[in-house]
Symmetry: C2
Subunit: 344 residues, 2 copies
Amino acid sequence: METITIKDIARALNLSTSTVSRALRNSYEINAETKKLVMEYAERMNYRPNPIALSLRDSKSKSIGVIIPEIANNFFSQMINGIESIAYNMGYHVVIFQSHESYEREVANTNYLVSRKVDGLLVSLSSLTTDLHHFEELMDKGLPIVFFDRVPKEIETHKVVVDNFLGSYEATEHLIKSGRRRIAHLTSPIYLSITTERLAGYKKALEDNDIPFDDAYVKYCHHGGKVVSENEIAMQELLDMPEPPDAILAASDRLTTGCLAVLLKNKVKIPEEIAVVGFTNIGVAELLNPPLTAVVQPALEMGQQAVELLIRLIEHPKKTSAFETRSFKTSLVVRESTASKITV
Amino acid sequence: METITIKDIARALNLSTSTVSRALRNSYEINAETKKLVMEYAERMNYRPNPIALSLRDSKSKSIGVIIPEIANNFFSQMINGIESIAYNMGYHVVIFQSHESYEREVANTNYLVSRKVDGLLVSLSSLTTDLHHFEELMDKGLPIVFFDRVPKEIETHKVVVDNFLGSYEATEHLIKSGRRRIAHLTSPIYLSITTERLAGYKKALEDNDIPFDDAYVKYCHHGGKVVSENEIAMQELLDMPEPPDAILAASDRLTTGCLAVLLKNKVKIPEEIAVVGFTNIGVAELLNPPLTAVVQPALEMGQQAVELLIRLIEHPKKTSAFETRSFKTSLVVRESTASKITV
DNA sequence: ATGAAAGCGCTAACAA
DNA sequence: TTGTTAGCGCTTTCAT
């Protein structure tokens, strides 16, 4: 079963390649009989058009590039599943690249995907990305990009996010209601959209409940918790404070599990000594010790909507009347890790 | 910053495209001055060769396709990181596709990757794959494929696996030594290599310890635990037995967490009533309730070796003197979920 | 209704 | 040392 080309078909059927090409695309100008002949032969020989040749000609590829910080993260892998499910049905392939929270990798991946002629990009920024030139240039060239989760304020395009402010507000409020006052916030670098929004929600909740905001209780992890030591240092600083926190709001998957690990190692009792709530889509939250209170994001749906927006942008480049930002609500799933102090 | 081609450079410098092409590849037949001229101009204009054009010409792409059951699984995502780290350094790109444990998706992904001219394939079989034609055909055409983890006996090529027999044997033995006698085995479809090997290790350990093997204690999950109900049904059948097991050996990530979830729901005490050990690379094993005894696979290294073998195959197609199967040892990390009956 | 030829970007055999 | 040409697979304009 060698790969067969239009040329082969043309030769076999004593036709020109253009006729074969047209016949295969069911062109009106081709004789019905010829069409049938060609189609049947193509079918029989299991002809498949060469997508590389098509890409070279048309500068597009019916594929979508996805650039995310990392795959080994439930939030992102659920997103991917959402993306794939829709893309697949709309005839697009999905090519995934990890930035590993590195700006350089993000740029390199972006360039590669573009040179491979992806028709559009779905991006969640690395935690170390501050310069957005690489994306801006592409958008200027007309390449559609949709951002999700970690989105840049500075770029105007479709975005898919969650209401981080509210998610954070609710989580913090929940901690306060359960009797905590010294609430720490373990979070990502400040220049990520999700960081500022979550921080704002956290602050507002404190304020609304007359708890003074204390900078010392906020710890930023530059690598978003990817680097273990970062997590540990931040946590240790918190634990070593004269008045250590009695609760922690962790801003991501990594930060949450990292935080739990440090608490375990230090034999800190959860929730008695410190309550923990985290932004995480981890599947086993319920199986943890104790079961973890989590701010969950609708990752699958977010992925689906993000591709939908992207594909719309790809297929109707004109109608870019206005860009929209779709915002989803997080859901706070309360479990024992934040059990009320009073009941405990 | 428009995309610039060799043609543009040639025109600008009043040279032919072939001269430019050769200059850029630093060909010995080009005048040093011309070379310098071309290179500097290319550099200044930020010239990047079009990989699509190269692929079309050469039928290769400096990229490697990876087909795995799913990404949202620590074992596979760690593998991917191993693969990427090496591939990146050797100048290859990695394109990842999920089969979602579906034979059809596996075939579709394979075909797509091949049509996209990947230079080789790294594959871990879906749990529903019994027919291997799609891979055999490709290998006949000369496409290098390396299998890992879930490998086909029938195909001769490089493979990277773990010693599943031993891993399973040790885990089972550990359960026996901790005082268990009715050890159940929750596993994947029988036609997967990993299933038979793990089953064999389990049986041998029973045999060596004079515990009769009982079929009723072995449960196969056709979708490898991806379908939740499957897990639940299997577990429920075990729990409903007149003599329910006092230990469970789960054969994969999914099966392990699924098993734990069912036990939790049924308020079964671990390890008092039922001990649990699972093949899993889950990152939070230690944070579970109780901390989970795990058979861990060196996923990162396996990924690294798998690409190495593949790239060797790609770059030295001749020297395929003999195919090798690299086997790694699993490590049994003992935690409380299998604490000895006696001490408890 | 069909065919010839050009072009997408690049390289290599062949010429000069 | 440099240039010309053909070809990878496909589509499309322009003939016929």
